[in-house]
Symmetry: C2
């Protein structure tokens, strides 16, 4: 049997078909066009699944259920997206609308929680507690305890990026000042890079940004790797912001595994080494086994696979 | 049937006998004399339980099990205190030593986790997720998920006070800089009070501290309630530090109930009102039911009752 997973992002709707074990058979995506009525977006989700069925030769009748990972506050039991920052979704009956277009069982999860479940299922299965963070435009995250998504009593947890690490600091998209997201997301890194460029007119970052056509999340990394001192300072400070938040999560959750995903995680060991060293030095646990800190393995597919796994689990009453 | 609960603190060893439902029958305490060999401390724990049995007329044979809430890193399965900051306990076989003195089943938990379980059992039972914090000399805390203490894979979670809210800020006892504990514990409040007194020589806080014989956690509260502006500023800033950490925990855990205990919680509504207003304004959840924030109800007894409940649950395989 097969499951469809749909990852609804601000830019693209990505969908895939996975087998019972979570292995991806095939995937496709279309632009989200976030300004649209949510019914049109949901219709495109259903169309994607139908196209994937055609493409893979897997009949719809062999797709047991579909899972949708959706940004925002999700009421999984009722299949409703109560609110989403970036999409026109307020009290949107996503599940009901999906079934009008494709009549198979459908389940909705918060996108970051779904991605955490995907990464857990494929790369950390059996761990008693697992924390997943994605360092991208914002900071998303999810916590898996005894194989289940932990989302608090109202489904809104765990917003790991919206925890203040610097009281009164940088304004966050959520309205608070000083959130981890406002220091350790790619958006924050770009702001930090621009500030350093302003101060260091002779830094390599200027020519790199010129070649790229813009200041991006890569600008400081590329310059730092060529030995540019101003860039090295940006990167080292940025890694410390990441590590402060990771250490907080380790002290709170003492997870068996904490996996770092999102675009920054492509830096691999270059990111992991200083973060691990910081946690090793600063965490509260001196005498018991330590949390393993790793780079997530599914990258872009975590959301699709996780949504499909969430559907599989819910469908089978797990 | 009855259970003994023991709360091992840096100053006192408190013990009590509770019934099956967690109701306290009677309690007693003796000084810890923290510098002693742990075997002598554990012997005093057993003596306390024997004395309580005498005093209450409940025979030892009716005490099913004893629970010990112990500060530090606890290996509950093996009954060992691996490490404690304030006591001479390193790889200390607390359970084994206790049974040499009193041969009944004995279980060990981290003291803050035990207190959280006690408060949950008596005042939040049935809530799907419950967070307990104690604002005292330090900040302790515990998280109860589906009726069970959440302590991570290694037993060291959840150290809620050792999460940085101010990167590079005040030095914490754990070695990091900027922990919540370094801003929102009573120790931190005293430091903040002293700093304000230094700046405001005409503040009422001076005469209050003189009467008390020292600057305490009450100095600023007493002066603020009499309208002293410098003190009001200290208190309002202190409440904000508390609220920043509480908001972080709400965003992470979305607990059905978050209870605030410890000596500061005696301020009741005076503390609760501004903290609730801050969380209401700043938390991430705009559209779903909200976490209830409350003052804890067991005060000093949470540790004893929680340790006894932990023993009851473990003894009955729950």
């Amino acid at each position: 049997m097969y499951y469809a997973g749909i990852d609804l992002g601000g830019t693209n709707i990505a969908a895939g078909i996975v087998d019972e074990s979570g292995k991806m058979i095939d995937s496709m995506s279309v632009p989200t066009n976030a300004g649209r009525d949510f019914r049109d977006i949901v219709k495109d989700m259903a169309e994607l699944v139908k196209k994937l069925a055609d493409k893979t030769g897997i009949p719809i009748s062999d797709i047991e259920a579909a899972g949708i990972g959706c940004p925002g506050s999700i009421d999984s039991e009722r299949g409703i997206c109560e609110y989403s920052n970036n999409l026109n979704m307020c009290h949107a009956d996503v599940a009901g609308e999906f079934r009008k277009n494709l009549d198979i069982p459908v389940y909705i999860e918060n996108d970051a929680n779904a991605a955490a479940l995907g990464e857990y299922e494929m790369n950390a299965k059996g761990s008693k507690s697992f924390v997943f963070i994605t360092l991208g435009t914002g900071i998303g995250g999810g916590v898996i305890i005894n194989g289940e998504i932990f989302k608090g009593f109202n489904g809104v947890g765990a917003e790991l990026g919206h925890t203040v690490i610097n009281v009164g600091g940088e304004r966050c998209t959520c309205g608070r000042k000083g959130c981890w997201e406002a220091y350790a997301s790619v958006t924050a890194l770009i702001r930090q890079t621009k500030a350093a460029m302003e101060q260091h007119k002779d830094s390599l970052m200027h020519s790199i940004a010129e070649k790229e056509g813009k200041v991006s999340g890569l600008t400081s990394f590329l310059a730092a790797k060529q030995g540019d001192e101003a860039a090295m300072e940006v990167v080292s400070q940025y890694f410390e912001y990441i590590a402060e938040g990771v250490t907080n999560l380790v002290n709170i959750f003492q997870p068996e595994i904490l996996a770092i995903g999102g675009s920054i995680s492509k830096e691999g060991e270059y990111l992991l080494k200083p973060v691990k060293a910081f946690v090793e030095k600063n965490d509260f646990n001196r005498y018991m086994p330590k949390a393993k800190i790793e780079i997530a393995k599914l990258f872009g597919d975590a959301g699709i696979i996780g949504a499909a796994i969430a559907a599989r689990n819910a469908h089978n009453g797990r």
